[in-house]
């Protein structure tokens, strides 16, 4: 690990000042400390934001749910309103990492976590995400866990967050505060596809702080759930996953939101699947037909061809679990 200076500001203003001077924010530290030890990350100054008042989870006037960026994964998963209104969020969280890590890690850090691609983590390997222009060892290397959607010739690494998949399905908004004031983006706008600049992973300007994530109000009743498929039953990243959110009244699906994880360079909204669902009546046949659209546009690599079919099956299973069969 490279040496670094450490500061812990007591308020948001001082944090922004330290951030503007090039300091790196540290929240739970579960991504950052790990990557600093591998020397993938080499910040000169760590700005510890854990003392800032950004931990609240609260419901606003429009019934939107605002989750402070520093709320811990375990606390958000256990929050009564999250559990009752958005099971897809609490399930995605409780299927992530371990109880210990969820006690440390924050919601803001979670959507900012970096890929688990082993070539990215290995400073001796070529990786355009770590060092632009150095090449991508995964393209010709062992790429079983890599992405099949949203990839480019420069990068095929997945975004590993489970939570971000659930939040993408719910059209979550990211609230930012920087030297130039506040701004807000949807999570889908915030997380960037690799293209020719895989080192640019998000639209966070220098010194900007994520203050909160906001789930906008959704039509009621809302059913939702998260399914994660992996090599072992727990404490493992997804090979494929599906977040399904359905609004059904009078036996007809009025609104459908479906997103996939483990397969995309960013959390992947399955708009073709959603289009199939809206206006239709739940049935096993519908789930199968809609799920068949899930891997639309997929570009499998040498070792991850299995993900195409696995994704379709994951989506079908989760549509049936959430939507039921009449």
């Amino acid at each position: 690990m490279h040496p670094f200076a450490y500061t812990k500001p007591a308020d948001t203003r001082s944090a922004l000042v330290a951030g503007a001077r090039g300091g790196r924010y540290i929240a739970g530290g579960t991504t950052l400390v790990d990557l600093m030890r591998e020397t993938v990350e080499r910040p000169g100054t760590l700005v510890d934001i854990s003392g800032l008042p950004l931990r609240d989870v609260r419901t606003g006037e429009r019934r939107e749910l605002r989750i402070g960026a520093l709320a811990r994964m375990s606390d958000v998963a256990a929050h009564p309103r999250v559990r009752s209104a958005y099971p897809v969020v609490s399930q995605a969280l409780e299927l992530s990492a371990s109880a210990q890590l969820r006690n440390m890690a924050t919601i803001g850090g979670n959507i900012m976590q970096r890929t688990r691609c082993t070539y990215f983590r290995d400073v001796s390997a070529a990786c355009n995400k770590r060092q632009r222009g150095s090449g991508c060892a995964a393209l010709e290397g062992y790429n079983r866990s890599h992405a099949i959607l949203g990839t480019s010739d420069a990068c095929v690494a997945t975004h590993p967050s489970d939570l971000a998949v659930a939040l993408a399905a719910l059209d979550t908004v990211v609230h930012l505060l920087g030297p130039d004031g506040e701004r807000s983006l949807t999570l889908t706008e915030f997380l960037l596809r690799p293209g020719s600049t895989p080192d640019r992973e998000h639209d966070l300007r220098p010194g900007e702080l994520i203050t909160a994530l906001e789930i906008p109000p959704h039509p009621q009743p809302l059913r939702s759930g998260y399914l994660k498929v992996r090599d072992r039953q727990s404490y493992e990243f997804a090979l494929t996953s599906a977040a399904v959110v359905l609004h059904i009244t009078g036996g007809v699906i009025r609104d459908a939101r479906v997103a996939a994880g483990g397969v995309g360079t960013v959390p992947w909204r399955l708009t073709a699947v959603e289009r199939r669902l809206v206006g239709a009546r739940p049935s096993d046949r519908l789930w199968a037909q809609a799920a068949a659209e899930a891997s639309h546009g997929a570009r499998p690599l040498r070792h991850n061809g299995f993900k195409t079919e696995l994704l379709e099956r994951t989506v079908e299973r989760q549509l049936r679990t959430v939507g039921g069969t009449p």
Partner: protein, 218 residues
């Protein structure tokens, strides 16, 4: 691995010579290195765990309470809580398996929540209360030294082989019971999944957590 264990830092309490002190001295002499279990050899401390702090604002003074005892130390900012415990405070019960958050051997309680000490920077523990495996047994009065119910359950259930993962399993289990995630064997398995056992003692580990949870004592 640091061969130093005696402590010339006036602000750190000096522990008695321990089995660990003996082991590391012997290893430094080149005698026992070949017989050290590979898991121990893999447990390299960051160079940053060494005592000499670099200059230029890259070290910090800190006050942290471990198992009820307050310590004032100056640490290199890179030092993990795990290395602070093991290399500076000679509390070697907490183990280093992966140093990446992926095994749970380093599990301790910080302010009563279970965390991975390997991914916790010591400098961030200012004012914190840390509990390690050494702090679980009763520490005063008539019951002084009496093991925690979960420690006894591990012995009674024979829930380990090599024992390397055991301190982390027990610390995690104590938290798991307090959190109330022991409604069924499946629930215990899921909520204990952050602790890997290379020897595969999972069935008996679940037995032990179940026994202590049903005993209702912690």
């Amino acid at each position: 691995m640091s061969a130093e264990i005696s402590n010339d830092d006036p602000d750190v309490e000096v522990p008695e010579v321990s089995r660990r002190g003996f082991l590391s001295t012997t290893a430094a002499g080149g005698v026992a290195a070949g017989v050290l279990p590979s898991s121990l050899a893999a447990g390299r401390a960051d160079a940053s765990a060494g005592r000499a702090a670099p200059s230029g604002g890259q070290s910090s003074a800190l006050s942290v309470t471990v198992n009820g005892r307050r310590h004032q130390v100056t640490v290199d900012n890179r030092t993990s809580l795990l290395d602070l415990l093991r290399e500076r405070l000679a509390l070697t019960g907490t183990k280093k398996g992966c140093d990446q958050g992926a095994c749970g051997a380093c599990t301790v309680l910080v302010d009563d929540r279970r965390v991975n000490a390997c991914l916790t920077l010591a400098v961030r523990c200012e004012g914190a209360e840390v509990t390690t495996i050494e702090g679980l047994a009763a520490q005063d009065g008539e019951r002084d030294g009496e093991l925690h119910a979960l420690q006894r359950a591990f012995i009674e259930q024979d829930a380990f082989q090599c024992g390397y993962c055991t301190p982390g399993q027990i610390m995690s289990g104590v938290a798991c019971i307090r959190e109330g995630h022991t409604g069924s064997r499946e629930e215990i398995r899921e909520w204990m999944s952050g602790n890997i056992c290379r020897c595969g003692c999972y069935v008996k580990i679940v037995n032990a957590v179940e026994q202590a949870a049903r005993g209702g004592r912690d």
